[in-house]
Symmetry: C2
Subunit: 302 residues, 2 copies
């Protein structure tokens, strides 16, 4: 039931870098790079993409199980997957986690949301809380915000001097290179929404009483600094798009495309790992005989 991988791979279409400078304003948040030409349009296109996400979700669940199985068997060599999600408010991180990561077995997921640092966290190096939240071998981790906040909100709000945050690009690159050496597959994704789409989503939070808790007047204050944030994202993504740990920009005004692209990014990275179920480390025939022979205690009508 495995669908073919697309050619060119979705990740090549969304990857930051590849020789040209990043210009976020040139990437249409409503565009759908890599989506195959379909014989359907409109709502049918959305249904098609949603169905593909569910199908790929089943594949991701199997890949995750193999990764976990290899770790249990001692074959994983420290391998694990870490998805880093960044976005402006209302960018859809939560929805993406629910629909894409949610397809995997929660036992194999380690999801961590990073809010403003606590007093304790502020007393440490900015990577301290990140290191403590890294997924274990064999697991799939998801960061809802991350260490990149320390070169984004921290920069825009001038929370530390410029020389401090500016030095962090190199620190982040060294940190991430170390993770990759340890066996991490890093998938760093910026969900790119438009200023207009953010307004629509904020308005819908005001209209729907079940969403009031998600609305914070401070979000609108941050909205007034939109160009500053776009500039901060542009520099962070450019400076930290390395070969070992590239950045991907996913146009995210269309939620169904966002999920479709994210599912493909995960799938393509899993494919690199060439996972399989580990072989038996015991004598199959002998174990079979033991189970059939052992009448054992008669309990529960066994």
């Amino acid at each position: 039931m495995t669908a073919d991988l697309y050619e060119p791979p979705v990740r090549e279409l969304l990857r930051v870098g590849a020789g040209r400078p990043l210009d976020l304003s040139a990437i249409d948040p409503r565009s759908t790079p890599g989506l195959p030409a379909l014989s359907v349009t409109g709502p049918d296109r959305k249904s098609w993409a949603r169905a593909e996400v569910r199908r790929i979700g089943d594949e991701l669940a199997e890949q995750q199980e193999m990764l976990h199985a290899q770790a249990v068997a001692g074959d994983a060599a420290g391998r694990r997957v870490l998805l880093v999600l960044q976005a402006m408010d209302c960018g859809g991180k939560g929805g993406a986690v629910k629909r894409v990561a949610g397809a995997m077995n929660p036992l194999g997921l380690q999801i961590r949301a990073f809010g403003p640092p606590t007093e304790e966290e502020l007393g440490h190096h900015f990577l301290w809380r990140i290191r403590r939240a890294l997924p274990d071998a064999g697991q799939v981790g998801v960061f809802d915000r991350s260490h990149y906040e320390d070169v984004l909100v921290v920069r825009v709000e001038s929370l530390v001097p410029e020389e401090t945050w500016r030095a962090r690009y190199d620190e982040i690159n060294a940190f991430e290179a170390g993770l990759v050496d340890e066996g991490f597959v890093l998938i760093k994704v910026f969900l790119h929404i438009s200023y207009g789409e953010q307004r629509e989503r904020l308005l819908s939070r005001l209209t729907d009483p079940t969403k009031h808790w998600k609305y914070h007047p401070g979000d609108v204050d941050a909205r007034t600094k939109w160009p500053d944030y776009q500039a901060a994202y542009t520099e962070a993504l450019s400076r930290c798009a390395t070969d070992a740990a590239p950045w991907f920009v996913v146009p995210a005004d269309r939620k169904w495309y966002r999920d479709w692209a994210l599912a493909h990014l995960l799938r393509e990275h899993f494919a690199d790992l060439d996972l399989s179920y580990p072989p038996a480390r015991f004598d199959l025939r002998k174990e079979h005989a033991r189970l059939l022979a052992g009448d054992g205690p008669k309990v529960n009508g066994g």
Copy 2:
């Protein structure tokens, strides 16, 4: 779309205690307590139960979101849910987590599996690693095995002297009473399978190469001590079935009943919390006007 709660509640039918001593051998692992009389039988009954689990899963996801929303709004008063799962090998903890907990948003779940303690963990009190793994306020935690291993495998395998593990019942009760005081809803579930069903499931792990990694010859060694484990479970469940933190025995030979019962247990406990979405803490009209007025920077066609 809320289905009615059953009367009597499923949890009353499955609760340990209620005046009579626990006798696991008198509870048929193939029984289906609380399942309503259906006009369907056989495979149709299974399909019906699976569909109900999916429907209740949507409710659980909403309840979880409200719990999280109240924590974000500061209304939760430390409330959180902790599901503790115990079972013999092949008892179906993994499947139950996947199908029932998997219905909730992974961002609101904190799942932790407890294996044999590490060297570091052995250097601490047996509750040390448990305390570190407790869910945060507003979260739903799931323990795949738990502190009960310290009165189960530890007892059967004589890993500590009897006076040590025997003292732990009171320690556990005091610990759990403290959690409930802090706002925890504890749901402790023993998935009860038969000796014969365990054999079938072990055999299927041998037959299916994608399941070899789940098979450990040591599981069959533990199987020879089945009556000792049943006795250890009987005493642990009896001694630690308190009003604040009761134990539930879920007959688990039928996977679809297991998931159905677990979904109902969660649902009935969520109902106690009487959750709702927190009200807006800001001036709705003012925020609406701000969003519509703010033309802001023209970016991305916004």
